[in-house]
Amino acid sequence: MESECLAPEWGSQPCVMGIDEAGRGPVLGPMVYGCLYCPISYQTSLASLHFADSKTLKEEKREELYESLKLDKSIGWAVDVIGPRELSANMLAKNKINLNEISHNSAMGLIKRVLDMGVLLTEVYLDTVGDPEKYRVKLCERFSSIKFVVSKKADSLYPVVSGASIVAKVTRDRALRGWLVEETGENINRNFGSGYPGDPETKAWLEQHKHSVFGFPSLVRFSWGTCTTHLKSEVEVAWESDETEENGFGNSSKRQAKLSRFGFTNKSESRSEEIESSGKGRCKFLQARKIQQITQF
């Protein structure tokens, strides 16, 4: 989503951009990165629009400011919505991508998108994500023509970042409000609360909507520690990728465990053979295909 696909008329003038995020902490819903940009010469007028950090504003005020900045012909904006499913999948991937990296990639994606439109970005302001200096260096290496300022509380220090935070926050709130729950046949209600793990309403919602086998509806970020805590009492799921990491055994151990659980065991099987790769002691052809002979069932 963005203001326009083509560069605005003023895009050839040196422009400043602010980037901010909404929904980084919550255990459910999307994380939204938003950016706002305008000609450097317009910055003083931007300050007079009274964007404050979106978190300090009331919801109606945020919505109002969002609508007014959308109408402002001297301002451009764009958002990147990263759904809970994508967040979970990345953070629980075989090669895990942490939230900081996802955040960095999202911010850089927004910068690239606006540059590709033909907007002459010369300065970009962002809030810290991880170590500020490392982040700044990373950004400079990727976009050498831009001056980057990575600062704590950027959203209250720079109006252009405050504006971005409003775009991000309003987009996140609307996305959560209109969220289409994919899971069916369950009494899924929408009283998620704020989505923050500490919010009693969110806690209650998680407790009500957990499923012994599937965990949670896909609105929930499974990679959050809160989820692990909630699912402790539910059905245990062991992943091949985790197992390899934890105990160094090959990835067939679970399949083995599964077979023995159903009463299939190899006659001569000892405890250690049960957790090591199936086809052990057999010819390479069978080992490579994890084919094991079952003599007792």
């Binding site: 979970s88 999948a89 090669n95 086998v213 499974f222 245990e236 799921v237 062991a238 992943w239």
Partner: protein, 162 residues
């Protein structure tokens, strides 16, 4: 040793065909029983096609799965086995001492297609699961009855080499 009774499966209608509902996941779910699978597990077809097979995408417990639906090789069938009801033809429970009692399995459902899933990797011919099918042709060669002509062919071959 236990026995497996597939007689029920031979009859077209006596056991359900669950061909579109069999999934092999790259994880172990330590649970055995019914679950609301179709309400939570919703595979979607992706645009990617590999070796002529359209890949699918699904999520389970927050992880991204990539899978493919394959037909079992012709001449082979899949069965879901369960403990046999352990009754004889008269419908009476067999009287047997515990040490005599051998586990008896019977087909509860059958399938000729199934979907196997990888965590984060696209399905390919190199997947162990598909490679295990190689055994079928080897088993066939190993267990094919040897005919007189085969002996002749082999002994001629030996002579040629010498």
């Amino acid at each position: 040793m236990g026995t497996i009774d597939l007689r029920a499966a031979a009859d077209e209608n006596s056991v359900p065909d669950i061909s579109s509902q069999v999934h092999q996941l790259p994880c172990c779910i330590r649970f055995d029983g019914p679950s609301q699978v179709s309400h939570y597990f919703k595979p979607t077809s992706s645009e990617v096609e590999i070796d002529g097979v359209r890949t699918e995408e699904a999520h389970f417990r927050g992880r991204k799965l990539q899978g493919a639906t394959i037909s079992l090789p012709s001449g082979y069938s899949g069965f879901v086995l369960g403990q046999a009801s352990n009754r004889n033809a008269n419908g009476k429970r067999k009287a047997s001492s515990p040490e005599e009692e051998k586990p008896c399995w019977e087909a509860k459902a059958k399938f000729d297609r199934m979907t196997y899933w990888n965590h984060d990797t696209l399905p390919s011919k190199d997947d162990t699961f598909l490679r295990s099918f190689h055994w079928f042709s080897i088993a066939e060669a190993l267990h094919k009855p040897v005919k007189a002509e085969d002996f002749v062919a082999v002994s001629h071959g030996e002579k040629d080499k010498m």
